[in-house]
């Protein structure tokens, strides 16, 4: 057996394989969903074993996936800081992941929307502006009415988020496409001042222009009554958001679990 497969043989069991298959199937999962998935895989393939701690479980699988340039990546939603997980292919252009569900002209619509999102100041592109580009699409001709539905499909499949007629990238898209975006839009890419990851939506300092993710803002300014810009020290003009707190969630979950199965979920 080849050396790279030896490691796989030592670590991977049907529990892990089923986990990977189902994660691939779902595309992206929130933390509570992935924990439930993990339990399901144990129940089905090795019901007597203790369920390994999720972080270790994932790290083990990732050590096997490393040589294939694939990874189970953990990210955080930009709007409310919830942890999400996806199986990400590190060595290819990520639009191919979407190709399982979308036709050529639909993929091109996504690219156009992405162009507008990256160009925008707020990280949002209006539905109208996206639809106006319908004539420029490659592939089969698409009417605006159709394009509206395709945009909805993107939202349903968690590639885009819609808010009041405007579209931005879903956490899933950011997780899968960060590198691609950095390389394709080197001039318009925005970075968070706190975590240094790609930033699509967030808050920015009106004086010096640095940006921060909403969850990063929440964490950085936690219990700070006079928030100031970490870069220029000017007064931070925005409302400090409330975001997902894993500790609070866990406590809430423990009290709930006495009554029913652990399904703690923010909103």
């Amino acid at each position: 057996m080849h050396s790279s497969t030896r490691k796989a043989a030592a670590i991977m069991t049907d529990v892990h394989r089923r986990f990977l298959q189902l994660l691939m199937t779902h595309g992206v999962l929130e933390e509570w969903e992935i924990k439930r998935l993990q339990k399901h895989c144990y129940k089905v393939h090795d019901c007597n074993a203790t369920v390994e701690k999720l972080e270790d479980f994932i790290n083990n699988i990732n050590s096997v996936l490393e040589s294939l340039y694939i990874e189970i990546k953990k990210g955080v939603t930009e709007d409310d800081g919830r942890p999400i997980y996806a199986l990400v292919n590190l060595a290819t252009t990520p639009i191919s992941k979407m190709a399982t569900d979308f036709a050529e002209n639909e993929l091109d619509l996504f690219r156009k929307a992405l162009d507008l999102i990256m160009d925008s100041e707020t990280g949002f592109a209006s539905s109208t502006n996206i639809l106006n580009l319908v004539d420029q699409l490659k592939g089969k001709k698409m009417r605006k009415k159709e394009a509206e539905q395709v945009l909805q499909k993107f939202a349903q499949n968690k590639w885009l988020i819609e808010k009041e007629g405007e579209f931005t990238l879903h956490g899933r898209a950011i997780l899968e496409m960060e590198q691609y975006i950095r390389e394709t839009y080197p001039d318009s890419v925005k970075i968070c001042n706190i975590c240094h990851s790609l930033l699509i939506q967030g808050q920015s300092c009106e004086t010096c222009g640095i940006r921060m993710h909403l969850p990063c803002v929440a964490k950085y300014f936690k219990s700070n009554s006079e928030p100031r810009c970490p870069h220029c020290n000017d007064y931070w003009p925005h409302e400090i958001p409330e975001v997902f707190d894993p500790e609070k969630e866990r406590e809430a979950g423990i009290s709930k679990s006495n009554r029913r199965s652990l399904r703690s979920r923010q909103h």
């Binding site: 991977m12 189902l22 199937t25 294939l68 590190l90 060595a91 639009i95």
Partner: protein, 360 residues
């Protein structure tokens, strides 16, 4: 012993065609009350229409996952030149034993041309932007092939050797068997997916879930159970009818479940498309014209993927569960399933033999 009545009109489809006197069952028929054994008339229940919940539960219990005993781990078919050892049905071969170097026809792959150039995963025309994979090594090609196979697995599309050549291994034609073998090992060990040659003539491969007949959530809106159950019922009909069932026979059963050709069902969509196209494309069923049929008619057989992912014994257990009886209620099918199991066990044993043996 009462002879088995030819009741095709009133359709106790569950009745086997065995002339040796196995008891038939009218479980799906609203009118028939044929019983499985004379000693246990109560064990047969007459189902008036389908209870999906009951069937789903039976599916869940019988096929929660398949242990390795169901999936002969390294079941290898002897290469085409040898006498095939399996009695019936297309058996899938482990790809590494039957890969032959094809004269690569650079036939364009329609599915990949449908995608944008940049959307082709693992393209050997990798732009300098993609993350650096060790260049020029066999490892790189194996990695690219694994990624391509994963992509095709999610697309639920078969792959041909020409695909692989075009996309992945242009310069490495001679190394194809080795690359494919290592990529297949990865697919099996890491993802539980088998790369099985399903058509030796066109050298096409199917990516088969080794973990058993899984209710792939993509297959249906929810966790996939109803569509799996429907597939199992169809496989059951085919089995009970002697391993081939006419389209008419299948519809008889589906109509009883309130599934009609052309009528959209909230769970299954349009049933005719589901059974003649979707399940055929996924290699669970084969749909072929009956030779010399006049007017032309069609029949269904198990597809290679059905053979790979399940077996007759499991299916019999499932059917018995729906019927709340025991596999031994269907003696001839039970015999056939036992023979099938013995055959698979033998194939497992002899797959480890280092040289090929032909039996006469």
């Amino acid at each position: 012993e009462p002879p088995i009545p030819e009741q095709r009109e009133s359709a106790p489809w569950f009745q086997s065609q065995d002339p040796e006197g196995s008891e038939g069952l009218g479980v799906w028929s609203r009118t028939s009350s044929a019983c499985c054994t004379r000693e246990q008339p109560d064990s047969c229940s007459e189902t008036q229409g389908l209870e999906v919940a009951h069937i789903s539960k039976a599916t869940e219990e019988t096929f929660p996952s398949f242990s390795h005993s169901l999936m002969p781990g390294n079941m290898k078919e002897t290469p085409a030149a040898e006498t095939p050892s399996t009695p019936e049905g297309p058996q899938s071969a482990c790809s590494s034993s039957t890969v032959t170097t094809t004269t690569s026809s650079s036939k364009s792959n329609e599915s990949s041309s449908r995608q944008e150039e940049e959307a082709i995963p693992a393209s050997s025309q990798s732009s300098p932007d993609t993350k650096d994979v060790p260049v020029g090594s066999l490892d790189e090609k194996v990695t690219l092939l694994v990624q391509f196979l994963l992509h095709k697995y999610q697309m639920k599309e078969p792959i041909t050797e020409a695909d692989m050549l075009d996309v992945v291994i242009k310069e490495y034609k001679d190394d194809i068997p080795e690359i494919l073998k290592r990529a297949s090992e990865h697919m099996e060990l890491v993802f539980g997916v088998d790369v099985k040659e399903v058509d030796p003539t066109s050298h096409s491969y199917a990516l088969v879930n080794k973990l058993g007949l899984t209710y792939d959530a993509r297959l249906s809106g929810d966790e996939g159970m109803p569509k799996t159950s429907l597939l199992l019922i169809i496989l059951g009909v085919i089995f009970m009818k002697g391993n081939r069932a006419t389209e008419e026979e299948i519809w008889e059963v589906l109509n009883m479940m309130d599934l009609h050709s052309g009528k959209e069902h909230f769970m299954f969509g349009e049933p005719r498309k589901f059974i003649t196209k979707d399940l055929v494309q996924q290699k669970y069923l084969e749909y072929c014209q009956v030779p010399d049929g006049d007017p032309p008619c069609y029949e269904f057989l198990w597809g290679p993927r059905a053979h790979a992912e399940t077996n007759k014994m499991k299916l019999l257990e499932f059917l018995s569960k729906i019927h709340e009886s025991d596999p031994r209620c269907f003696p001839s099918q039970y015999q056939e399933a036992l023979r099938d199991e013995a055959e698979r066990a033998r194939a497992r044993v002899f797959s480890n033999v280092p040289f090929n043996i032909t039996f006469h």
